[in-house]
């Protein structure tokens, strides 16, 4: 966000609507998603700078209202820095369950438009509305319909980019923010792209930007005028040809519905380094619970459990183990994670961060479970499914392992929440 520069808005701001023929790709992005959701419950904060993120010393900004962004605050920024930039901002710690629920509802709206929905994260998705035009009208009308439905059902706003390719649609929604829509006509792609700074392109990070600047390339237009072979020589074949294609608006990637998660993980940075194996194991349990619940919610099971252990000097090790049968059970994930932690030989070593991840995910409905002789019909999985139900009804944390119950309101200093 921070590196995106302001450019004059094009499109249907005034005059006749832009030509959206052939613009079958929509990129829908919720505006300051977490912040907007929080403001639903705190309407008195509307119009004020609000930052969502853990207020601790090591917290980072997850989301910020446009009022806060005006001060330069952006997501992924360390909280301490954000506070310095905008000392009077209201800081709200994140409450994840709420976002997930609204995100799910929003995705449902998308899927009622077309099955061709590719979620990028909780708050943005690509839609291919090529097949919905007969039913719902032109892509621009569909975009307006989505914006109206999201606003009506959830009271928050989103921005929509309409274009003939994914990356142009994404750029367009960025330009349309907040609470807007931008159509980039198929024959207007080059005009739209060329004034943009190269940093706007997909795949241009700080280092590539720097390399391009050395070549005197500042805008996408500059880039387009460089022969692809020169780009390939300067930036490598893959990056060079990728950028040359993007500079002319060429992006053939299709919208792929439910891009399966390759892995699901959770990690925790402690508010101060921890060397007590008991505390580490407790954290592994908490993370395993979280990962397992997310896997079950997403309908995934996985066979490979990995842990990430970061020492106080930031050196990090990853260890993984493949189970005999795929699982989505916290107890099984936890026992593998503990075994990995113990085998890593880092007991009594001060750790800054621990993480648990399950890889090799497959959809749970395909993963049938081989039953074993004498196995109880209702095992841990059933217990954890019951917990999921309780959580859906009463909120996160209502049921948890006894080892994790003491945590809140505890006198001894504890691990921070992520």
């Amino acid at each position: 966000m921070s590196r995106k520069q302001q450019v004059p808005r094009l499109g249907p701001a005034g005059g006749r609507p832009a030509d959206d023929t052939g613009c079958h790709i929509l990129h829908v992005d919720m505006d300051a998603f977490f912040a907007s959701v929080e403001l639903l419950e705190r309407p008195e904060l509307k119009g004020r700078p609000v930052i969502i993120g853990s207020p601790g010393v090591r917290g980072v900004v997850l989301s910020a209202t446009y009022e806060a962004r005006a001060y330069g605050v952006h997501s992924a920024m360390p909280m301490t820095r954000a506070r310095r930039m905008c000392p009077h901002a209201v800081i709200i710690p994140p409450s994840h369950g709420k976002y997930g629920e609204i995100s799910k509802g929003v995705m449902e709206i998308f899927r009622s438009i077309t099955p061709e929905v590719e979620p990028l994260s909780t708050d943005e998705a690509f839609l291919d509305v090529g097949g919905a035009r007969r039913r719902l009208g032109s892509p621009a009308r569909i975009g307006a319909l989505i914006r109206a439905q999201v606003a009506e059902r959830f009271g928050i706003t989103c921005s929509v980019g309409v274009a003939s390719s994914k990356f142009v649609a994404k750029l367009a929604s960025g330009q349309a923010k907040p609470d807007g829509m931008l159509v980039v006509p198929a024959d207007g792609v080059v005009d739209f792209l060329h004034p943009l700074p190269v940093a706007a392109l997909w795949g241009v990070g700080e280092r590539t930007e720097e390399a391009l600047r050395r070549l005197g390339i500042k805008t996408v237009g500059d880039l387009a005028r460089i022969p692809p072979t020169t780009l390939q020589r300067e930036l490598g074949v893959a990056v060079g040809s990728h950028l040359a294609a993007l500079a002319w608006g060429r992006d053939e990637r299709p919208v792929t519905p439910h891009q399966p998660d390759k892995s699901i993980g959770a990690e925790e940075t402690f508010s101060y380094d921890v060397d007590d194996p008991e505390a580490i194991r407790r954290e592994l349990l908490r993370l395993s619970e979280r990962v397992a619940a997310r896997m079950r919610a997403a309908g995934h099971v996985g066979r490979t459990v990995s842990v990430k252990l970061r020492r106080s000097d930031f050196s990090t090790i990853n260890r993984s183990r493949t189970l005999r049968e795929p699982t989505d059970i916290a107890k099984e994930i936890y026992s593998a994670a503990c075994a990995l932690y113990e085998a890593a030989g880092l007991e009594r070593v001060r750790l800054r961060l621990v993480g648990v991840r399950v890889e090799n995910l497959v959809p749970a409905e395909h993963s049938a479970r081989q039953l074993a002789l004498g196995e109880r019909e209702a095992g841990w999985r059933e217990a954890e499914l019951a917990v999921d139900q309780a959580v859906r009804r009463f909120g996160a944390g209502i049921v948890r392992p006894a080892a994790l119950v003491r945590r809140e309101g505890d006198d001894e200093p504890r691990l921070g929440r992520g």
Partner: protein, 377 residues
Amino acid sequence: MFRVDRDVLAEAVAWTARTLPVRPSVPVLAGMLLEVTDEQQLKLSGFDYEVSAQVTLDLQSGDAGKVLVSGKLLAEITRALPAQPVDFVVDGAKAVVTCGSAKFTLLTMPVEDYPSLPAMPPATGVVGSDVWASAVSQVAVAAGRDDTLPLLTGVRVEIEGESVTLAATDRYRLAVRELSWQPEQPDISAVALVPARTLADTAKSLTTGAQVEIALTSGGGGGGEGMIGFESGGRRTTTRLLDGEFPKYRSLLPTEFSARADLATGPFVEAVKRVSLVAERNTPVRLSFRGGEVVLEAGSGDEAQAVEVLETEFDGDAIDIAFNPGFLLDGLGAIDSDIARLQFTTSTKPAILTGKPADEPAATPYRYLIMPIRLSS
């Protein structure tokens, strides 16, 4: 030292060499001990501390003596020799094997370093060798192969008077076979847990004689190791028993069912093999029994799919049940019957696979329990 026919020697050496360790813990265990007794018998022995094997042959001529040579090499040599009498002579630290115009000189190993073979326990009873071999192979197929659970890599042998029960399970299936034998003592009662792989190998290799003599020492509290020995047609082998409490499997065998399907075994096997071509690792073949037919399916909507319909004589409530195709095929290969009978209760409860009894309602001596795969919905 001795002279013997090439075929006789080759067969005896090959049989003894089967038990030799591939990676011996001490070098002499790679050796095969050849001993000529005063009674003009040749004894060939192999031992790896777990399993011992010994063949005894009668000789026409021979001088008493002992020699230890590489068993693997001797097996390769005797297999390749021409069909003529073989002369085996010890010459200092060398053994010379001559057969026709071929001559081999082998290094010998120190006989004194070779451990003495465990004594054969006294015979406990006798069983027909073919019946024994087939019973063991029927059961061993369900034994576990995971060495981290050694208990489940064994076959449980239960002797109760004239009946012997063999059982093995890897937690996902359970095979049980009942047979009768002639015990030395009519009131004998004994149990043993025998490593499945060794037992199956042994049983298969002891079919040259008509009967197998079984000898069992249970170890008990006396400190002596439990051991089982088999002897047939001049071949004897001993195996150390596994420790541990075998699962109480009898209570796991269901006795009441809500449905029963009889299918022709051959076409059933073929159909399972075909549809499981699209079943990826750990994915099931699904069986839907309705009236007179069963629909076999494998694969999923995202991948390749296969479906096949077979006739079945079905009796009971319609049922959809899924199995690991490998487990199902193992069982179908073991029932030794033209008609396979599957009995079920529900799709998450164990199913029992047997052959159709020749004269109902007699029970079949072999039962193969198979745990279904639960399809999450």
